[in-house]
């Protein structure tokens, strides 16, 4: 199954939980502080996101939306 996520950089607090729980290691921290002073995470779409939503489920900030075919 193919999936895709969108991370709201403004909401993200850089807790790295999505990174830790993505089975495909598709998420990394960006190196630009956001307005709130956090390093937000970002999605690197290598095309193999399966839309499992683990990242979204663990995101404390509800910063991740998940799309699936």
């Amino acid at each position: 199954m193919k999936g895709r996520i969108v991370i709201d950089q403004m909401l993200c607090k850089g807790c790295e939980l999505c990174i830790a729980f993505c089975p495909k290691q598709l998420i990394t921290l960006s190196d630009e502080l956001n307005a709130a002073g956090y390093l937000p995470s970002s999605f690197n779409d290598r095309g193999d996101c399966n839309g499992c939503a683990s990242c979204a489920v663990v995101c404390p900030e509800v910063a991740i939306e998940v799309y699936r075919e």
Binding site: A20, A53, S54
Partner: protein, 251 residues
Amino acid sequence: MKKIFSRPKSLKKAVFHYCPGCGHSIIHRIACEAIDELGIQEKAIGVPPPGCSVFAYYYFDVDMVESAHGRGAAVATGIKRAYPGAIVFTYQGDGDLSAIGTTETLHAANRGENITAIFINNAVYGMTGGQMAPTTMLGMKTTTSPYGRDDRFEGYPIKMSEILGQVRGTCYIERVAVNSPSNIRKARKAIKKAFQCQIDGLGYSLVEILSPCPTNWKKSPVEAWKWVGEVMAKEFPLGIIKDTTGKSDAD
């Protein structure tokens, strides 16, 4: 592609004031998911506590009323008795429910008040800066147990859910954790089931949720989430503690 995961309807669009990796924000979200699934947003009245979640009403898009510290069960009792049409839930920390609120909680449970408690066990007093809670692990250092909690002086971690399981007015008590996708999904189910118990008029229901407090545990969010499973869940075993509904867990 279609959106399969986004913010639940009854969760206001606001930035949480919680620390990065805090369990409260997860629990807010899954509670709102349960509320949406049961379609009770217009009936729900929440009673948040003093505690890190004191501002819960900035996030839950339901009627809410601030409670004095530890008195959530009494406040909820008053609301529910005055207006049984509401679905009334308390949201309480471990300091709130298992220290100062022990009496109100135990007796509301014993009366079988038809209310639901969401009980956040993060093993510390978060809001006030990480003091020892009744649920703090033995040996754990906090600002008020600087030498590590020692049962000879500070007593033992207290298991409120097991204690509440003893009184006959409780219908459903389960302990869950928010430290992994699967546990978070279980937690959502448990909260939903607790609300269902109230809808069915079965009495006092409670969901205890082991919840990470990275800030006061002095751990990174990821470490903190691990610690919930590896340390806390040993002292506070996950699972159903009491269930008189007869209904299976599946939903």
